[in-house]
């Protein structure tokens, strides 16, 4: 009977903590980019996901994603709803992976929970400054259960149809980034642009806050990618190296183009390029080696920056460029797997190598399929959910509330009171 491996458990424990830490990191990354009257609204949308999604995940999400298949590899059943059968005693082979887990199944559930928390949070960058909180909260819950869980089942569950097909996604290029990226586009099409966009500048209110978020994201991403090996082993080390190098190369790629295009290398560019590289390497992390991560990251840095131009061309207000960075970066990475996947790095994929490493177009085709399926499913369903919420509860604030800012209109708070005046509120009735 398989045993829990302490070292693997230690590594996944800290990895899960690191992934959880990414959501506050994302909140600051985004929060620094919005105007000061909307920063709390942004932070709240992200932190709230840590609350609502976590609860929904144990009640139903995990079961739909990793429960026994209800047919066609499309969705899991209710076997694990409310953590039924998920406890300290759960046998390590309960989830049906080829090899039994070497960590407690409960820990695997927790690790996956952190992915579920951050994925919908990614969307909030596109919808910055105009979401009604009640509408957002509703959309968040619905999206997690109806969009995230199924896609996670397809790709991450051994019963999932894409998993079975042999499409590769090491840590969430499709499930996390493409999924959130296309959903972001869908929601933006429903709610429309920010008042004044693109005429007004809407400069980031605190780039140091954005860089703080970047630092936390980079740090946490090691848990996200290297943790996905589910063990403290060589693949974890390789994924660790790939993650870091792709972030570094992404930064350099973005800054290079920015310097050529606009004459300056910016701190926001450094941050954005690093994130683009991290997004692109996510699906590849445990499958590629050597200098491949430099190519993948650099490409992502360059292409994502150029992709951002699309929003002005087509006139959709993807406010903080979730489409440009996560959708485009996720696609780049998912396809790169089809080119750079190397069986010398991960013998598990022998016979399923990338085009440049002895494989044929086979893997590349599967990757295309995975990308297309995720875009189609998530795009359509997210659009419908956004419409539903918008027509009922309402997904966007009124113009007056938007002018006033989300902090005050949605949360009755002020982010910064640095001088003496603002703090002179009086009264107070507990």
């Amino acid at each position: 009977m398989p045993e829990i491996n302490g070292a693997d458990t230690a590594w996944v424990l800290i990895s899960a903590a690191l992934v959880l830490f990414m959501t506050p990191g994302l909140a600051f990354f985004y929060g620094g980019m919005v105007r000061s009257k909307n920063v709390l609204g942004m932070l709240m949308q992200n932190f709230f996901s840590m609350g609502l999604v976590s609860v929904l995940w144990v009640l139903i999400g995990f079961s739909l994603a990793f429960g026994d298949d209800i047919g066609g590899g499309l969705l899991g059943g209710f076997d694990f709803a409310g953590l039924k059968d998920i406890h300290m005693g759960t046998p390590l082979d309960a989830l049906g992976f080829g090899a039994p887990l070497t960590i407690p199944v409960l820990l695997f559930m927790a690790y996956q929970m952190m992915f579920a928390v951050i994925t919908p949070a990614l969307i909030t960058g596109a919808t910055a400054d105009r979401l009604k909180f009640a509408g957002y909260a509703t959309f968040l819950g619905l999206w997690l259960v109806l969009v995230y869980s199924p896609v996670a089942h397809w790709v991450f569950s051994p019963h999932g149809w894409l998993f079975k097909k042999g499409a590769l996604d090491f840590a969430g290029g499709t499930v996390v980034h493409i999924n959130a990226g296309i959903a972001a586009l869908a929601v933006v099409l429903v709610i429309g642009k920010r008042r004044g966009w693109p005429r007004d500048g809407m400069h980031p209110h605190s780039l140091p806050l954005t860089l703080l978020g970047t630092g936390i994201l980079w740090f946490g991403w090691f848990g996200f990618n290297a943790g996905s090996s589910l063990g403290a082993n060589g693949i974890a080390a390789q994924a660790f190296v790939n993650t870091h190098l792709a972030a570094a190369a992404g930064m350099l790629g973005w800054l290079l183009v920015e310097r050529i295009k606009a004459g300056h290398a910016t701190t926001l560019g450094a941050a954005s390029g690093a994130v683009a590289g991290l997004v692109a390497i996510t699906p590849c992390a445990g499958y590629v080696g050597g200098l491949s991560p430099l190519v993948i990251g650099f490409a992502a840095g360059v292409v994502c920056l150029l992709a951002i131009g699309l929003k002005t061309r087509f006139g959709y207000d993807d406010s903080l460029d979730v489409v440009g960075v996560h959708l485009v970066g996720g696609i780049i990475g998912s396809l790169m797997v089809g080119l750079f996947a190397d069986a010398n790095v991960n013998e598990g994929i022998k016979g399923n190598e990338g085009l440049f490493f002895g494989g044929g177009e086979g893997l590349l085709g599967k990757q295309f399929l995975a990308v297309a399926a995720t875009i189609a499913f998530s795009g359509i369903l997210s659009y419908l959910l956004a419409q539903l919420v918008d027509k009922t509860i309402g997904l966007r604030v009124s113009e007056d509330e938007e002018i006033e800012g989300l902090d005050s209109s949605q949360h009755a708070e002020t982010a910064y009171v640095l001088g003496g005046i603002g703090s002179m509120g009086s009264g107070g009735s507990a």
């Binding site: 006033e404 005050s408 009755a412 708070e413 002020t414 005046i421 603002g422 509120g425 009264g427 009735s429």
Partner: protein, 112 residues
């Protein structure tokens, strides 16, 4: 010469600035202020308790102009800053004895 001082809603600053540009004003100074007036402040929630904040963020513009231009400029500001909602602000005019451009030492109207 006169000093025209205007207190307007922050999100109107851009419109006011453009309106003044259009009528040939080529200099002004703005600052952030807090206003108290008929427009009541908002209520904030702090750990379940509610607090009244009396002040509302406003922007303050100062434009020194020649006597002849005062009327046009005041009208332009009022027109651009108007939302017909309470709290739109005030514009007041005071007399300026003299003005000097630091760079050149020019005095009076030429310094504007």
């Amino acid at each position: 010469m006169k000093l025209v001082t205007a207190i307007v809603k922050p999100f109107k600053l851009d419109d006011v600035k453009n309106a003044l540009q259009d009528i040939g004003v080529n200099g002004l100074t703005v600052s952030e202020v807090q206003g108290y007036g008929r427009q009541r402040g908002h209520t904030e929630v702090y750990r379940g308790a509610e607090y009244k904040v009396d002040f509302v963020p406003k922007v303050r513009l100062e434009v020194v102009v020649g006597d002849a231009d005062v009327a046009r400029i005041v009208d332009a500001i009022v027109a651009a800053a108007k939302t017909d909602k309470i709290g739109d602000g005030k514009v007041w005019v005071t007399s300026v004895d003299d003005i000097i451009r630091v760079r050149t030492g020019e005095r009076g109207p030429d310094a504007i």
